[in-house]
Amino acid sequence: MADSKAKPGLLLDIRNLRIEATVFPPGEPPKNIVLVHDVSLTLEKGKVLGLIGESGAGKSTIGLSSMGYGRGGVRITGGEVILNGRDILKGGKDGFRKLRGREVCYVAQSAAAAFNPAHRLMDQVVEATLLHGTATRAEAEKRAVALFKKLSLPNPETIGERFPHQVSGGQLQRVMTAMALCSEPDLIVFDEPTTALDVTTQIDVLAAIKDAIRDTHVAALYITHDLAVVAQVSDEIMVLRHGRLVEWGGTRQIIKEPRQEYTNALVSVHEIEHAEQKPGMTPFLSVKNVTAAYGRSQIKVLKNVSVDIYPGQTLAVVGESGSGKSTLARAITGLLPPEQGTVTFDGRPLANRLADRPKEDLRQLQMIYQMPDVAMNPRQTVGTIIGRPLEFYFGIRGRERDKRVAELLDKIEMGKGFSDRYPAELSGGQKQRVCIARSLAAKPKLIICDEVTSALDPLVAHGILELLLELQKEENVAYLFITHDLATVKSIADSIAVMYRGEVVRYGPKSQVLAPPFDAYTDLLLSSVPEMEIGWLEKAIKGRRMASAGN
């Protein structure tokens, strides 16, 4: 039954969507918050609309509303969601069940978590098709194998017999796309489908998804926080912030001629000018021929790694997950004693084991972690957290300590009033700033930053990077900056070490490492970083010299 207001070719028409949730702040009565404020959008058959914004922008919530689904206690309290000419919100639970997995399918951020570990992939891929009775089992499996082929999965005939844990993350993400396409839906909601993947794997998955969308003529809502990624697959882009529409337009217009200030900030977020400092005469910390392994394993996680760090400079360590970046940090800090090789600090060797190092050595090396939420004791106030190194290393207490805490808070551009707050009351960026202040409080020579901006939204991450650079100038502290994000590396590093399977494959000053000629791996890494250019994806795939490790 067609809606009289529906235009021909219109698949999804969301009108004045309002979504609310009840939150339970600690020590306060439960209250209602509005997550999505009267957002409207339309999507034509076979088109791709990118939903982009920071966390909390409501993009996933809006995407899931097209299936009538709310995560947790989320409720759709107003508006209409018109799919194929009918308001699905009026269909009730049975109506939702009939459209989920048939008209609209979902591809989750982490396929590794979204596949049931207890069932074979094929059973899960064809489940929705069989449930809705759109094909027999034999037909559905044939369709699935064809999709596996289209998504260039290895062994398409037999991969369905495997269990999720037997398949790599990048492959699982493509199997999940095949699962969504298998029931031949009209619309697929892609919820950050490549965010959890390494850049070199992301590009393959992205290309596979793009081809599949083009060949099956399915429409898609593509949700992501990465504008460069969404620019590759979308026809139109909608920018959201705090549950409100900021800007909605064609892909070219959004990335080339953004009309809103916020969109402009998103587009130009990665550009920090950082002039490279030349390495000094003597490094204060040298890692020499370090080899390390976990447990009694024969597999070495670090193989003969040597790097130098100079006072007040930044060494960036880049590589994919599993390349040994974090293990290098663990070897330097003594958390994982190296099997061979030494770490020298100020001309003398550091004890291999953390337990054998004097307090003074511990003070000189501090760490900041990827997840600020779990790196702080949730039951201590910010003042206690920052004050702890002052007490522990310097014995500063009482008023003197409070004064130092206030100074440190000032340094990280947070007011004195934050001293009495708990971590739960801070935003993600503020939490990471507190972690920075805590590491600075020890007045270290080196701070190891392990993916410190990876869990943050681009604009927030930008702020953190600027803060780190400024603090480096003021305090003359050196950074060992571990990251998989090459854009970050460009804006902060003085020298770069590229790691691949436990080895340093390229090492030197930034200007040299990032200048051709490249070795095959560095080339792959560099060429896989999404650029905000329409058509970049096709160009990058064509120009590649080696396949990524995730395949």
């Binding site: 459209l99 979902y106 989750a108 978590a113 449930l131 269990f163």
Partner: protein
């Protein structure tokens, strides 16, 4: 392909055997530490020192403890559990019938209790935090909180005395027709079911609820599966390991912990046999029954471990 599983299973079985040996040492040592002397107990207060010495010699009580342990262990391994001191009967023969009776009772109690507990658990998850969930949890908790002798007597009062549907005394004998036997054990089996139900139900509920937070449950919901199918097909298979564990613990309880229920219903099983001979200080019988109970406990727990290993697809299908 199955080599890691075989290795793990072999490890568990070896561990179980080792544990059983350790338990046999403990049981033997425990009965040795108990005050009192078997010869004295058999002959009574009026025994002369000579007859006591003779009997000790005859029973081998003068040998060192470790020799007696190995002698006893050797007997156990060859199926000879010794002779009961109080009656002079062969323990293995008298235990056989009683063990079978206990297993019979435990089997039928388990046949009712395990599926019922799991289904109730599934229903409780389906309607979680609603009145159905609260009713199931409340009733199950109440039935567990009452001591089993109380439940036993309540059952006897209503079903045996007031309505006279089932017998209040569960006499069974060899060659008893199946139907009559079932009628005889109806009340003790019901009492046992009520005792073990809640524990299994609550664990099933908790284990599944834990899994319900997973992303793959959301995937299943977004495929349009009904709430109950999401639980049955996607949550339950991943919650099976903890559920099997608690089920096995309760099965062990059904066999080992039935002492009170057997005494109430005068059911000729292992529990009653044990209680009888504890009062008579019949050490060989207590040892034998203790060892059998330990073996039941350990083997059921091994089964639970193995089932949990086999239920894990990562171990069943290595990379």
């Amino acid at each position: 392909m199955s080599s890691p599983i075989l290795k793990l299973v072999a490890q568990r079985v070896a561990l179980g055997i080792l544990l059983l040996l350790a338990v046999s040492v403990l049981i033997f040592a425990g009965t040795q530490i108990l005050p009192g002397d078997v010869a004295q107990a058999i002959l009574g207060q009026s025994a002369t020192p000579e007859s006591l010495a003779n009997l000790r010699e005859q029973l081998g009580l003068n040998q060192p403890a470790y020799l007696r342990y190995f002698h006893w262990l050797g007997g156990v391994l060859t199926g000879d559990l010794g002779t009961a001191m109080s009656s002079g009967q062969d323990i293995a023969t008298s235990i056989k019938g009683r063990l079978w009776n206990t297993l019979f009772l435990a089997f039928w109690a388990a046949i009712v209790a395990v599926p019922l507990a799991i289904i109730l658990g599934l229903i409780a998850v389906r309607y979680r935090n609603g009145w159905v969930d609260k009713l199931i949890s409340g009733l199950a908790l109440a039935s567990t909180s009452f001591p089993e002798f109380f439940i036993g007597y309540v059952l006897v009062y209503f079903f045996a005395v007031k309505w006279q549907i089932f017998p209040g005394i569960s006499t069974v004998y060899d060659g008893m027709p199946f139907g009559e036997r079932m009628q005889a054990i109806a009340l003790p089996a019901t009492a046992l079911t009520l005792v073990v139900l809640a524990h299994m139900m609550r664990m099933t509920r908790a284990a599944i609820l834990n899994v319900m937070q997973s992303a793959y449950v959301e995937t299943a919901e977004l495929k349009g599966l009904s709430a109950f199918n999401v639980i049955r097909k996607h949550a339950f298979p991943n919650a099976i390991a903890p559920i099997i564990n608690v089920v096995m613990l309760n099965l062990a309880y059904l066999i080992v912990g039935v002492v009170v229920v057997e005494v109430i219903f005068v059911y000729p099983g292992m529990g009653q046999y044990l209680v009888d001979h504890v009062t008579k200080r019949d050490v060989p019988v207590v040892q034998a029954v203790g060892l059998i109970f330990a073996a039941v406990y350990i083997s059921l727990n091994i089964i639970a471990d193995i089932a949990a290993i086999v239920a894990n697809p990562r171990l069943r299908h290595p990379k």
